[in-house]
Symmetry: D2
Subunit: 122 residues, 4 copies
Amino acid sequence: MVLNDLQRELREFAAQRGWERFHTPKNLVMALAGEAGELVELFQWLTPDESADVMTRPEQAERVRDEVADVLAYLLQLADRLDIDLAAALRDKVRRNERRYPVELAKGRADKYDQLRSGDEV
Amino acid sequence: MVLNDLQRELREFAAQRGWERFHTPKNLVMALAGEAGELVELFQWLTPDESADVMTRPEQAERVRDEVADVLAYLLQLADRLDIDLAAALRDKVRRNERRYPVELAKGRADKYDQLRSGDEV
Amino acid sequence: MVLNDLQRELREFAAQRGWERFHTPKNLVMALAGEAGELVELFQWLTPDESADVMTRPEQAERVRDEVADVLAYLLQLADRLDIDLAAALRDKVRRNERRYPVELAKGRADKYDQLRSGDEV
Amino acid sequence: MVLNDLQRELREFAAQRGWERFHTPKNLVMALAGEAGELVELFQWLTPDESADVMTRPEQAERVRDEVADVLAYLLQLADRLDIDLAAALRDKVRRNERRYPVELAKGRADKYDQLRSGDEV
């Protein structure tokens, strides 16, 4: 299982350095949010079109790839610490959203987005 | 590959609903940050100890599991859209951090955290 | 009016550099979130007690002061751009919260925080 | 002083409810980040043009005004708790940025944004 493998690597990395005590769920959530903030900074002045081309510029591409990895690292460590099966949690979410947003209603309705409460998944 | 499977599911989910045009990298990064913010809200008033027990309270556990899945969903969609191999990016990161934080130096040094620039991985 | 003065300074600063076109509300919101993320990074590994003493360490104090100013700068520019009277918006909020959290009910009730939906103002 | 007045109101509001002990700097920073995340959610699916018109739609306008007030509330409480003079911190910042981004160099240079490290103030 890829996710589990990555989590084990990260767990060992932290354990070897005696860093577990810093990794309370509260702290890991903050670290995740901090990395999400760094990712936002890479995109904040880009137009939507520029954002679609960001990987064609080597320097930017490297930083985006790096920040995306940081977010994943903290997400995996948080889930590991809380004993959440990430893949199962995501699959449950998709199942629920299939009921909430049936294709026949949602399809091609741009205006749907106006009616979604903000924060709803799309 | 688990990550790829999840990404394909999410891609189909969005495609069936005609939502791809909302999914610019810029927008997906914002959605990811928004979900990270919701996760932060679940932990903001908890003490570190309370945060470690959050999964023992069924209602909170469900919300944490849900938000963690949301963050993962947008991270996977962002990586998919940018053609970033998440597992490879994370493994590269771990390799780099093994060089930056050698065990013999980092181990058991609580004060290390004072010297890290904030935002550094732990 | 202090807030208005600061907003005028920031407006002139951006106008002199021809930066207005980057300052769409969408982009300013992202910049605000990015700075909030940097602030989070400064506190993520601190215990609550350490966080209370952060200003006694000159280097950390300077960075916290700096990030707090960055958040304020983008908040002021966003409000200016959207024509939101920040002081009035906050006063309305306080009035509403006085009704939602009456002193006689909220006072001294630590457990209140368990019942608040996360994200509620405290 | 407007900022000080607002801070005193918020301080009394929290004190009357015995909420000071939840208001560690660490927790307030998280609350600020959470509110910034909610603000991001209101803008995440909007085009830049739509984001410029957000205040013309009464329902959205109300929510934006509300979240902006929430961010300000936590920022003021954080600064109050840390004894940071927000107006002075911001003025120092503007002075520094005037030196970093001299008008004659920055003016009208759209490409400037490519050269700024992300997260730099604009």
